[in-house]
Symmetry: C2
Subunit: 347 residues, 2 copies
Amino acid sequence: MVIAATLNDIATKAGVSVSTASRVLNNKASEYRISEDTETLVRKVAQDLGYRPNHVARGLRLQTTNTVGLVAPDISNPFFASIVKRVQTVAHDLGYSLVVCNTNEDSELEEEHLNLLDRKRVDGLIAMPVGQDSSEYHAWIETGVPLVLVDRCFDDLDVPSVVVDNYAGAYQATSFLADSGHRRIAFIQGLPGTYTNSERLRGYRDALHDHELYQDDRLVVGGDFREENGYIETKLLLGLDDRPTVIFASSDLITLGALKAIYEDGLEIPRDLSLLSFDDFDFAPFLKCPLTVVRQPRELMGEVAMKLLAQQLENASAEKKRVVLRPEFILRDSVAPVNVEPASETT
Amino acid sequence: MVIAATLNDIATKAGVSVSTASRVLNNKASEYRISEDTETLVRKVAQDLGYRPNHVARGLRLQTTNTVGLVAPDISNPFFASIVKRVQTVAHDLGYSLVVCNTNEDSELEEEHLNLLDRKRVDGLIAMPVGQDSSEYHAWIETGVPLVLVDRCFDDLDVPSVVVDNYAGAYQATSFLADSGHRRIAFIQGLPGTYTNSERLRGYRDALHDHELYQDDRLVVGGDFREENGYIETKLLLGLDDRPTVIFASSDLITLGALKAIYEDGLEIPRDLSLLSFDDFDFAPFLKCPLTVVRQPRELMGEVAMKLLAQQLENASAEKKRVVLRPEFILRDSVAPVNVEPASETT
DNA sequence: ACTGCGAGCACAATCGATTGCGCACACTTG
DNA sequence: CAAGTGTGCGCAATCGATTGTGCTCGCAGT
């Protein structure tokens, strides 16, 4: 192992004090009236010794790490992956590194991560919380370290956050389905109790209500955002006597599971069944049946999140805004109109 | 801002020395013969004060950060995203945090990141290098900090690494195309000079050669792994007089671009043109035309990478293995057989 | 009463960088 | 020659935790 040169080594070798070395290498030579000769000397010695500043020591002294934590449920999911990427990019531009944590939608794991990030003394945190319970985040706020919530937020927490108008997205989509003549609209939800899910569900329900459609509780199914959930629930829905005419999947992974189930049963979209998805993804236009979706501005979310955090970082008393972004309804081919007939459609 | 309690505070309040407090909280009470009374007292005080250990200070003293860096070209690309996710998970299980960096296939940015990670004194590094040039990594190795290369590697670097047998994957796929009767097989390559690309290209070329097919240089096109590359090159290929009968896209994003171009021109896969892709992705089976692909074991790559790194971390002189994983050829519908006729296929 | 011993803990150096304060010297001015 | 004014830089504390070394008791033994 190579022993790294320290400021001390430089100082000794250059015959100056550590302070001088430090000041030169932090470009404060003129501020502290260090002569040009000394400056060049120190720089040269630093160069010769292959000096590599130690940010751990620096962090201890300065009580800052130039690092922010990011907590997400599933960073391989394209939705979160895009957010993470953008957060990373913006963070780097602002001079921060990013410690990424995956909670796998597990509250215990999430708490572990929060704990670790706290001990690591990250300067700030961007989180997409797992759960319904905000207590871990209450604890975080106690520490005084800035926090920004993304995608999912808590109403009882006064914290800057950026979310999509899930209600509007779901409402618009469901309305579209109703207007297309669908009357049995299934909703495969994600994790109940999460902000995201509740809002989408509310949008769905309100739209049904406003279109005077009967709310069949058996059509609201599912329990988390994973692919398996989409698969299983779709299978079950397809087994129903009075099968829905359309499935509204509340996340991209649920959609993936739904697709598997649908094609496995030999059905065609939208001929036999319509499908609509919350979350767009790159390949959605090229599917066997190009998917009609509610698209969230994921990259924008990441960017806004990091910028909100930066505001808190430079000014602890900055306003704690909640930014609400509009999702976009993208019409493709996966929803077929239904003939609006007075009675049933039995051939 | 809440002032965090330190060991000192605890020691003072408990009426013991810092050392004792430290030892108790590190579960070394018995090792250092601390009485049970003292132990409970210290623990209680720590609890009361809401003690949060400072890993920065700890890191300085112990010369270790329990953090590893990860450098990838594009963490939102499903291929890398899967790797990152798995690396993160395994890292956490082994007690490490992960600092994630995105290079965007930009060597300068990559170097910046390496520099930063070095200053941050990460304990190890997992990298998917951008370039053809290994000099930055040579510099890294000088520091003595363990390094593992993933997906792309350098032959002039004695470093543990995990790669896919790109040659075999490309060879098998190209052979399949040849066996299906294709004689004009286009190859849209990624970034020339990268290990990945060179190997795939070599596999493609060798397969052509072994099947006694003419190598038309105009059919080897492209210059990076981005979607735009796939789009543009496909457009150009489609404009050729003697258009290829199949396109072999050497990454998922290139495939995405190709799909755009193909459907934009109103062509059908595989009727008008066959398509084959390096990289599988979740939605590949559900595309308009389910894609035949060479699948890489991405999650496995991430896991192996982190485990290799862990080996280096606990034993600096551990063997520097190169792990080569087999890709899997997955046959779906996007390659149509071509009638092998003696002459041209003009009508 | 004096020695010996182990239990229980404290001292102080250390990791590497930052920074407020102040010192020493040179040179100018009255 | 004394006082005044800069210039150029060093001293030493500090951030919070870890740890090798060694001190100080109380008690048993003779």
